[in-house]
Amino acid sequence: MKKLLVVVLALMMLLGTVAHAEIAGKQVALMTPYLGSVTTNQMVEYMKTDLESKGATVTVINTNNDFAMLASRIEDVATSGQTDAIVLVSADPSQIANQLQDAFEAGIPVFGCDSGFIDGMAVNATSDNYQMGELIVKYVFDELMGGKGTVIALTHRPHPGVVKRCIAFDDLLKEYPDITLITEQHVPAEQPINDAQTIVENLLLANAEKDSITAIWAAWDEPAIGATQALKEAGRDEVLVTGVDGNQQAISLIAEGGNLKATVAQNFEGMAKIVVEEMEKLFDGQEIEKGEKYAPATLITLDNVNEFIEK
């Protein structure tokens, strides 16, 4: 009888630990098509370090801009049965919805980090891209342009975050009748600095008169850097440029006091942190609130740029 009691107690304790499973020992797959991007990399590194320090095993899967490949890798992960959680980093989940469905059916929780949210996912940690767009566009239109002039937009609408900034730009542009859009140009993602530089060089020659372009609004930092380099070479000091993201090359250009005036720092570490926290809650057996969770963003200008320079 006593023996039985011991066995029952032991079993209960064992079950208790199972129900109270922690993040330690879990297999987490961090999956992204854009590991080459500075910021995506930053988030992946943060999550990897943080999760590994908590005892999880982390696999990083990068598919070099290839969404079809990403879809296949997700199928692999979903069918292998080895993975306890997937984190999708900087990838639009709606483009791989069918494959994610496999993961949902296999009971693997899917988190997004700077991605997007579709039903079935646990949480997507992101910036409110629309609000970030509003923040920087208002700064460009009000502070830099004084409500009038001409603007060029450098965009990349296929990206789920970037497109929301572009929509904010579209919406605000309607409210400023004295601001004219010269042209919007799409910048591909493989080598955005070089491509943006080429595009802006050509536009500068087409708009060669001084003050014919008041500002260049870039939907993220890399084209803003390319635009800045083109302007610097052409000696067009009067044209104002802004980016979004707060990457280090952009920040050092803002600090130099040249054409690049401002960017918005997304709180990438904040996003990565949210993902890890929510994942811990989930593995702890707590209820988590499904949906988007926002990490607040900051405007960086010459005034506060020194706080953001990494030593």
Binding site: L35, G36, S37, V38, T40, N41, Q42, V44, E45, N62, N64, N65, I182, T183, E184, Q185, H186, P188, A189, E190, Q191, P192, I193, N194, D195, Q197, T198, I199, E201, N202, L203, L205, A206, N207, A208, I225, G226, Q229, E233, Q248, Q249, E310
Partner: protein
């Protein structure tokens, strides 16, 4: 009539280039048809020209090198990393060239030795190189702590002329000469024309294949290093975008030659057509999707024209 057809065939592509230039000059006289803009275009196409010359060499022996894009990305990443780690700058640009030479030689050796399709071999190599880039960088763009002097090659100007344009011209002249007037060039074309006959004629086919692939890798690597130097950072996929456009340029270039074979001057014309289209359409402030549609259509049109021309000639 027959003569006209013949000259149309030989000069059709050049004529198309002239028409494109004419149209843009009419639509944007003040901005497009200026010395300044042509200097600008020469620099914008310089990187594509260098990598496309590499593709021309490999295509002249009837092979493909699909690893040009990732070789370029790797070139940029290697030189940037060497610079970050404090190697003297000349070495940062010379060592990657040696490494790329070996990689290209391996490509050629596998293709010649095992008589496998270069398409697949170089596709495999491309994937390997992407993996190496990932291992070297962790996937991140190399930017932090790049010394200022690293950007010299990509940004220096001699008066108004960008050094990049001069480098491009030097490569066009050098390889134009090699392909036309040296034993190496003639043997490469001989192998491309008929590999079996070349073998019978006593040409060391495997050796020349190795050389073609090695030079192609070196030119890709140089392109990648110049991209990194121009933008001041090395993106892990910076060269990938050049892969398709370089082959488009070589194909358009074939139409310049009477025999329809890859040639360095033709490749320059191909790059010029693609570069001038991008330049002029951007100046017209045309939305990007229209630029893509027009550029793609012109590539297809060029290839059809060449085929039709050949059919009539026979």
């Amino acid at each position: 009539m027959k003569n006209m057809k013949k000259s149309l065939q030989a000069y059709g592509t050049l004529l198309a280039l002239a028409i494109i230039i004419l149209v843009f000059s009419i639509l944007r006289p003040a901005a497009f048809f200026t010395v300044r803009n042509f200097i600008n275009i020469s620099r914008q196409i310089s990187l594509m020209v260098i990598i496309s010359i590499g593709a021309t060499l490999v295509m002249s022996i009837n092979e493909f090198d699909l690893s040009v894009g990732s070789m370029a990305s790797l070139g940029g990443v290697m030189s940037a990393l060497m610079a970050v780690n404090g190697l003297p700058l000349p070495l940062c640009f010379l060592l990657p060239i040696l490494i790329s030479l070996v990689i290209g030689w391996i490509n050629g050796w596998i293709v010649a030795k095992f008589k496998v399709l270069s398409f697949i071999t170089t596709l495999g190599m491309s994937t390997v190189l992407s993996g190496v880039i990932y291992r070297l960088t962790g996937g991140a763009t190399v930017f932090q702590n790049i010394p200022k002097g690293f950007s010299w090659l990509g940004t220096f100007k001699i008066g108004e002329i960008p050094l990049l344009s001069v480098i491009m011209l030097a490569f066009v002249v050098l390889f134009g000469f090699i392909m036309r007037h040296t034993v190496l060039g003639r043997r490469l074309y001989a192998i491309g024309g008929n590999e079996e006959t070349s073998k019978v004629a006593g040409i060391n086919v495997p050796l020349y294949k190795n050389i073609a692939f090695a030079l192609c890798a070196v030119l890709s690597c140089i392109t990648g290093m110049l991209i990194a130097s121009r933008v001041g950072s090395a993106n892990t996929t910076a060269g990938d975008g050049y892969f398709l456009s370089s082959y488009a340029a070589v194909f358009i270039g074939c139409t310049v030659s009477k025999k329809g074979i890859p040639n360095v001057l033709g490749t320059l014309v191909g790059c010029a057509i693609l570069g001038i289209l991008t330049n002029g359409l951007t100046m017209l402030q045309m939305p990007t999707y229209m630029q893509d549609i027009i550029t793609g259509a012109i590539i297809i049109f060029a290839v059809i024209m060449q085929k039709l021309g050949k059919g009539n000639a026979n």
